[in-house]
Symmetry: C2
Subunit: 453 residues, 2 copies
C-alpha cells in the first residue's frame, strides 16, 4: 500500500500540458518498479504520436506457456475542481479502509494489484505460469491515441493469446464480475466564434450574433424533449437486446451493479438506469465555456463559446459515421457572423465479447478462488479503446476489473477500497496460475517473436 | 492627459472582489484631485449597500445659479480575458492619438474632461456659473446598486435642476450628439446543479440529468428561430416607434452612429441594426460555464452549470415584470435531479426623455461652440440606471456623452480618442457658462439644502 501510494502521488494527468513532466516521471517510476520486482527488459516505448510513452516489461519466458498481455494505464483524469476533495487529490492518504486520491482506483490501484501478485510469484517461485508482457499506457484518459497508433505500427509488440485488462468495476465488494461489453466513444469539441472581439452587450445587444446562445442552441438541438439524440440515423444501427440479457442486467442492478448515485431518474423512459448506461447510447455535454459568469461577469457579447461533447455508443454504431454526423450538425450553426470550428476527439468502437474461451474461464476460476463466488457477467457503461483494437488483432481481451461502483472515479474524492485491493491481489495470484495451467494444448502459438532466442 | 492616465491606471473593477482595494484607492485619488482643483467638501459618501463609496464634491456657491449635478463613474468593466489586449489594460499608454486602457473612455476619460474644464474655470475665474455638485459612483458597471439606494435614503444629496451625465458615445468624432433615450436592463444569473459531484460520463452517461445540457436548453428556449424572445408577454408593452423617428435614426446610422462593427446581420429581420439596438429589446447570454473544456476537459458529467443573462428593455417594458418572467422560465427547468437557483442581478427601467428644456438647450449650444456643429439627437443602446432614477426625482438628466462608437468600451483595447477628449473639455468649458447664463429666471429653486449657510 505504501508503494502504491507513491504511484498515486504522481499527478500524471494526461489531459493537462502542465502535467507533462509528471506523466513522464510516473512512467519512469513504473519502469524502475517493474525492474525491481524482477520483470525483464522494462523500458519506455515512444508512441508514433509523440505523447507519453508506453511502459513495457516482460516476465521470464516459459516455453509452453501462453502469451498474455497485462494492460493498464498510469495516467489519470484531471483533479479539478479542487473544492470537491476532502484531501489534496494527490496526497494519497488513507481514510479508514480506503486509499484516497486521483487514480487510486482508475487505474493505478487495479494495475498495482497485478504487480503485487507478479512480485510475489517471482519472489517465491522465481517464474510466472504465463509468458507475460506488461503494457501500461499514459493516455487512456484522453482516448489512447499513442497506444492505438503503436498497435498499428508495431503489432508484434502486442502478439498474444489474451490480454488482461483491469480497468472497470465489479458489481460490489463481494461481487466479482467479468465484463463482456463496453460502450464506444465519440468525443469532440466545437468552438463558435465571431470575427470581432467582445462587444458591449448594451450597445450591441440585438444586432450581433451571440456565440454563447448559438452554442446553447447547438447543444439543445441534439436532444429532443423525450431524451432521444436527434442526429440523423443515430439509432439506426443500435442493436436491440433480448429479454434474457435484459433480465440478467436487472439481476446485476439488484446486486448493486447499476449506476448507483448516478441514477437520478433522467434518461430514456423505456429503459432501466443500468440499461440506459449499457445497452443504450448516451450524450453528455461535458463542458461549456463562453463569456464570463460570477465575479468575472461582464456585460459583453462574448467573442466565442466552446462546447465539449461525449457520446457513448453501443453495437453496432460506428464511431466514424457518428463523428461525421455530429460535425455536420455543428457546422449547420455557422452564419455570416459566426464561424464554427469542430475538433474531433477520441473515438472508439463499442464491443461485445464472447463469454466463452480458455482465458475467460481461467479468469472466472481466479475470481472464484479469491472471492469465494463466481463472477457475474456485466456490461460496462464505459469505454476501453484498447479492448476493441486488441480484439481486432486476435488477442482475446479479458475485462477483469477490481474497481467498485462507488470508487468516485473521474470525480472528487476518488478512492480505492483496500480490502477489495487485497482480494484483487489474491485474484491475480490465482489468475496467472489458471491461465498457465493445462492450457498449453489449446494455446499453442509460439512466444512473442522478439522474445525468441 | 498625464493626470488622466494616473486615474486610468487604477484597476477599479467593481465586479471583481479581488479589486476591492483598487476601487477604494481610485475613489481616494478622486477626492484628492477634486480638492486639488478647487472644489470644496470633497468626500467619500458610503452607500447603504456597503459597496464602493460615492465621491461627492461641490463647487463654490453662486446664489442665483442653477443647481447642476455632474455624474460620472470611476469603476470599470473587468479587463479579462487579457489576450485581446495589445497593451496591459491598466498601463494607460498613448498609441498615436489614443490613450489606451480599460476605462479610458468608459467613463474615466469623459468624467475627466469635465474635471479639466472645471479646474480651468476655477483657476482663471475663481468661480463656476452653476451650483455644481460632482457625484461619482463606483458601481455603475454592476448596476449602480449603492447609488440607487443612496438616492432613496438621502434624496437631498441629489437635489438639483439638472444632471450632466457623460457616459455615452457621440455619433462620430465630428458629430456631437445628445442622447434622449436609454434602454433598460434586466440582468440575472442562474445555476443548475445536481446533488452529487461530478460523475464519469462513460459510466453514468444516459441515466443522469446533465446540468450543462439543461442550461443550454434553458438558454436556447429563450429565443425562437426568428430571433424573438419567447418570454410570455415580453413584447406586449414594447412601444412602436413612428416613421419620423425611424427616419431620424436612419440618418444617425448613415452618419456613423449605428453599431458599426457590432452589426453582423443578426437580429430581428424587420428592423435596421441601429433599431435593433435602440427601439427593440435584446437578449444576450453574456456568459456560460459548466464542466470543463480544452486542456482541462474531462469525461465527466458536470455538477453544475451557470448562465448569465443580459436583457435590454425599451419603453414601456417593466424590469420587475420581466425579471419575474425570466425567473419563472428558468424555474421550469428544475427536475427531480436538477436544482435551479436564480439570482436576480441589476435592473433598470428604459427611459425616453423630452428633447426640450433649458438644460438640454444649454448643452446643445455648448456642443455647437466646441464642435462647430449642432448635436444630433440619438437613442442609446446602453443603460444608465441613474438617469431614470434622477428623472423620477425631478432632476432633468442631460445625456451629453463624449465617447466614440469605436472606443471598444467593455472590450479589449479600450481607448480614448484624444482630439475628441480635448473638444470634450472645450464643450464642458462652454457648458457651465451656457447652463449658468440667463437661466436664473427659469431655474429659481434654491441651492441644495445642506449647502445653505
Amino acid at each position: 500500500v505504501r508503494t502504491l501510494a507513491e504511484l498515486v502521488r504522481f499527478p500524471s494527468v494526461s489531459a493537462q500540458p502542465a502535467h507533462r513532466q509528471d506523466v513522464g516521471a510516473c512512467a519512469a517510476w513504473l519502469v524502475r518498479h517493474l525492474a525491481r520486482i524482477g520483470l525483464v527488459r522494462a523500458r519506455l516505448v515512444p508512441t508514433p504520436t509523440g505523447g507519453p510513452p508506453v511502459v513495457i516489461a516482460d516476465g521470464p519466458r516459459g516455453a509452453d506457456a501462453p502469451r498474455v498481455l497485462l494492460y493498464g494505464h498510469y495516467d489519470v483524469q484531471p483533479a479539478d475542481p479542487r473544492d470537491g476533495w476532502s484531501d489534496p487529490p494527490f496526497a494519497a492518504v488513507i481514510r479508514g479502509d480506503e486509499l484516497r486520491g486521483r487514480g487510486a482506483s482508475d487505474d493505478k490501484g487495479q494495475l498495482f494489484a497485478h504487480l503485487a501478485a507478479i512480485e510475489s510469484w517471482l519472489a517465491t517461485e522465481g517464474r510466472l505460469p504465463v509468458n507475460l508482457r506488461c503494457v501500461f499506457e499514459g493516455e487512456e484518459e484522453i482516448g489512447s491515441p499513442g497506444l492505438l497508433a503503436l498497435l498499428r505500427t508495431n503489432p508484434d509488440l502486442f502478439a498474444a493469446e489474451a490480454a488482461i485488462i483491469s480497468d472497470m468495476p465489479m458489481v460490489g465488494p463481494d461481487r466479482p464480475a467479468l465484463t463482456y461489453a463496453v460502450r464506444g466513444l465519440v468525443g469532440a469539441e466545437v468552438t463558435i466564434s465571431r470575427a470581432t472581439g467582445e462587444l458591449h452587450a448594451g450597445l450591441h445587444g440585438g444586432a450581433v450574433a451571440d456565440p454563447v446562445l448559438a452554442a446553447c442552441r447547438m447543444a439543445a438541438a441534439l436532444r429532443d424533449p423525450d431524451g432521444r439524440i436527434t442526429l440523423p440515423e443515430f439509432y439506426a444501427r443500435v442493436k436491440a437486446v433480448g429479454p434474457a440479457e435484459r433480465a440478467a442486467l436487472a439481476q446485476v442492478a439488484r446486486l448493486g451493479g447499476g449506476p448507483g448515485s448516478g441514477d437520478d431518474g433522467a434518461g430514456e423512459p423505456s429503459f432501466t438506469a443500468l440499461e440506459r448506461t449499457t445497452i443504450r447510447p448516451a450524450l453528455t455535454i461535458t463542458g461549456i465555456a463562453g463569456g464570463s459568469v460570477g465575479a468575472d461577469g461582464k456585460a459583453a457579447i462574448a467573442r466565442a463559446a466552446t462546447l465539449r461533447f461525449d457520446l457513448r455508443l453501443v453495437p453496432d454504431q460506428e464511431p466514424r459515421t457518428i463523428m461525421r454526423s455530429l460535425a455536420r450538425h455543428c457546422a449547420a450553426f455557422a452564419t455570416p457572423g459566426l464561424r464554427v470550428r469542430f475538433v474531433p476527439g477520441a473515438a472508439a468502437a463499442p464491443l461485445v465479447l464472447s463469454r466463452e474461451g480458455a482465458a475467460l474461464a481461467a479468469a472466472g476460476r481466479a475470481y472464484t478462488r479469491a472471492f469465494g463466488r463466481a463472477p457475474l457477467w456485466r456490461r460496462s457503461s464505459g469505454t476501453v479503446p484498447v479492448a476493441a483494437a486488441l480484439h481486432d488483432r486476435g488477442v482475446t481481451p479479458v475485462l477483469a476489473g477490481f474497481a467498485l461502483p462507488d470508487d468516485h472515479i473521474h470525480g472528487p474524492d476518488e478512492r480505492l477500497h483496500l480490502p477489495t485491493f487485497f482480494r484483487a491481489i489474491e485474484t491475480s495470484l490465482a489468475l496467472w496460475e489458471e491461465l498457465g495451467a493445462g492450457h498449453a494444448a489449446t494455446w499453442q502459438a509460439p512466444p512473442p517473436a522478439e522474445a525468441r532466442p
